[in-house]
Amino acid sequence: MSNIIEVKNLVKQYKEITAVDNLTFDVKKGEVLGLLGPNGSGKTTAINCILSLLNFNEGSIKIFGKEMNHDSYDLKKDIGVVFQEVSVFDELTVYDNIDYFCGLYISDKNQRKKYVEDAISLVGLNDFKKFYPKKLSGGLLRRLNIACGIAHKPKLIFLDEPTVAVDPQSRNNILDGIKHLRDNGATIVYTTHYMEEVELLCDRIIILDKGKILATGTTDKLKSLANIEEKITIEINELDINYLEKIKEFKNVDDAAYNGNSLVITYKKGKNNLLEIMEYMKKENIKYSKIFSERPTLNDVFLELTGKELRD
């Protein structure tokens, strides 16, 4: 597969702060690359540099094999961007907003009309064409934001946290739309701090923090980086500290922590741990409402790599 994006040694500094620190990666044709990282990790800055919206201090950026500059109009026509912030005109209807932004790429009116209708269908806004943005809910606004960014059917799409603060229904709709774009062959760079979205959509993931790449690979490969094999979560209203210390001494336990509502136990190895803890709870007559076991998540990997949660 040929590279659609090639980023080499990208450095972007804001005065004393290095927002992007020697970033090197590429994105292959038809690939969905997830940029995963907490707020302020440099995801959006990296995208803005790639799009030539921002100057950068060092490095090189190529898109479709050509160097990307602010006046690379021939490259820009095949790029679509969905920004983190909703970027639409309050004074224009849903249809007009999509038509306006699509019209910056497509001059043929008939073709544009079809593209706008396709985009409206893709994000499920057929019943809201004549609505003004102020009349739309947060989720519908996000869908409009996406439609404005992809209506011209770009080959390369940047989606910068498109599902932030949306209701579950809109979120599912948005994710279905992105799958549709992916299935139609678009190359996608997807930034988020929702790991479940990344697991669902992305072929490959880059974990970023403080502008640096901490790890890269497929979901399974990244999960294998975790030192733990199993995580058991138990919902308990009260737990004596002595029990917690006892649990920590179990054979496979890596760590155990109680936050007042739930007890989370991580294990280095993953055999019969659930049975063991359930028997202990029964023996000590500890009341609990819910217990479940799971494999390590990307968040656990991130926690191990950075010492903090993805959503911090």
Binding site: S87, D96, F101, G103
Partner: protein
């Protein structure tokens, strides 16, 4: 792409309620208030005749143009007379001025009128304007007389008919008197001065329209700007189509102002309405250019840019005499370069020139061309600046 962006810029500007209020409704409200406030003052002021003195020397009595003009303007038969004149000697004039009995006095020295005042105010400004008007007319008449004599000589007629030339000069003097009557009954009206001020301010505040349109297309000013910046449409297409849309909206606003003042408020702009409209269009272009310029070169948020634009416009208006015509003369006299570069001054000077210099449109056209050059320079600088602009942060 130009017309596509133009169409949607027009739509967004027309549907921007606060912008439409300031562009369309605010001038109409101001016009209504001016009409209510100043028409009363004017009716009252018509009764207030300015007391002046003229040094009654032989030079004054020999100068028919000045003598006749001031006779007309102080004649009891003239319903719109503006002066009450005491013909006195220099000492008496000085005493009257010291006593506050007159607003000022005029003396002709070497064919030039010398004005003496104790203070600067509206009465003094009117005396200055009228005297300046007569001085200009006298100059025109002299030139015409010389031209007539030269024509006769050129055509080989050395037997010059001085009587015929004299009659022409007399006719011109009479025409001048008629024009001076016009000045006294309409051109020096407070209401008209305020309406010209309002038109000029409306022109310049059009800058907010272009600044809003430019801000929408800048990635550091709006999220929509980011989206526009990453599109393949060239910056110049976006800038010029947005500017053109702002211009159209501004012209619609101005048209409404003219329609409302002419048909609803019954304001009489006289025979120069075509020139007034042309000057307003050029003034609007200058205002839009100023908005584009400030929107382009300042890296600040929208509120700061709006503040800079309003402050610049207000200061320009103040220096141009919109808030008191005396200021224009103070600036013209002491630092003339400021008003030569000040678009507000170009607009007001254009308006005043139409009335105080009548048929001679040289000064009017000078102001029109000045506004065009001012607009072109600002637009070119804005374009160069935007084209080369790269962002360290957005």
């Amino acid at each position: 792409m130009f017309w596509h962006n133009f169409k949607y810029s027009l739509k967004t500007l027309f549907k921007n309620k606060p912008l439409i209020f300031w562009t369309f409704a605010f001038p109409l409200i101001m016009a209504t208030l001016f009409n209510m406030a100043f028409s009363n003052i004017e009716n009252q002021e018509k009764m207030d005749i300015i007391d002046i003195a003229i040094i009654n020397n032989s030079e004054w009595n020999d100068n028919e143009i000045y003598k006749n003009s001031f006779d007309v303007l102080s004649s009891d038969d003239n319903e719109e007379r503006i002066f009450n004149i005491d013909y006195v000697n220099a000492q008496k004039a000085s005493e009257l001025l010291e006593a506050g009995s007159i607003a000022g006095y005029i003396e002709l020295i070497d064919e030039e009128p010398v004005l003496t005042f104790n203070t600067n105010g509206l009465d003094q400004t009117i005396i200055k304007l009228v005297t300046e008007e007569i001085r200009q007319t006298e100059s025109v008449i002299k030139n015409l007389s010389e031209e007539e004599i030269q024509k006769e000589i050129t055509s080989g007629n050395y037997n010059i008919d001085y009587e015929s030339i004299h009659n022409k000069v007399v006719e011109l003097t009479k025409e001048d008197n008629v024009r001076l009557k016009d000045i006294s009954n309409s051109n020096l009206s407070y209401t008209m001065i305020e309406f010209y001020t309002l038109i000029a301010m409306t022109c310049l505040y059009g800058g907010i329209l272009s600044m809003t349109a430019i801000n929408e297309s800048l990635p550091n000013m709006s999220n929509k700007g980011k989206r526009i910046s990453i599109s393949p449409t060239k910056k110049r297409t976006i800038i010029f189509s947005s500017l053109f849309a702002s211009f159209i909206v501004q012209l619609v606003g101005l048209s409404l102002l003219f329609i409302y003042t002419i048909f609803a408020l019954k304001i009489n702009y006289g025979n120069n309405i075509g020139f007034i409209i042309l000057l307003s269009i050029m003034g609007s272009l200058a205002g839009l250019s100023l908005g584009t310029f400030i929107g382009s070169i300042f890296k600040a948020n929208e509120n700061t840019k709006t503040g800079i634009l309003i402050a610049t416009t207000m200061f320009g208006c103040f220096l141009s005499g919109m808030m008191g015509i005396t200021m224009k003369y103070i600036v013209d006299k002491n630092i003339p370069i400021i008003n030569k570069l000040n678009p507000a001054s170009m607009i007001t000077d254009g308006f005043y020139s139409l009335y105080y210099y009548g048929d001679n449109l040289d000064r009017y056209w000078f102001n029109i061309i000045s506004l065009l050059i001012f607009s072109a320079i600002l637009i070119i600088i804005s374009y160069i600046f935007l084209r080369r602009q790269k962002y360290d942060s957005i």
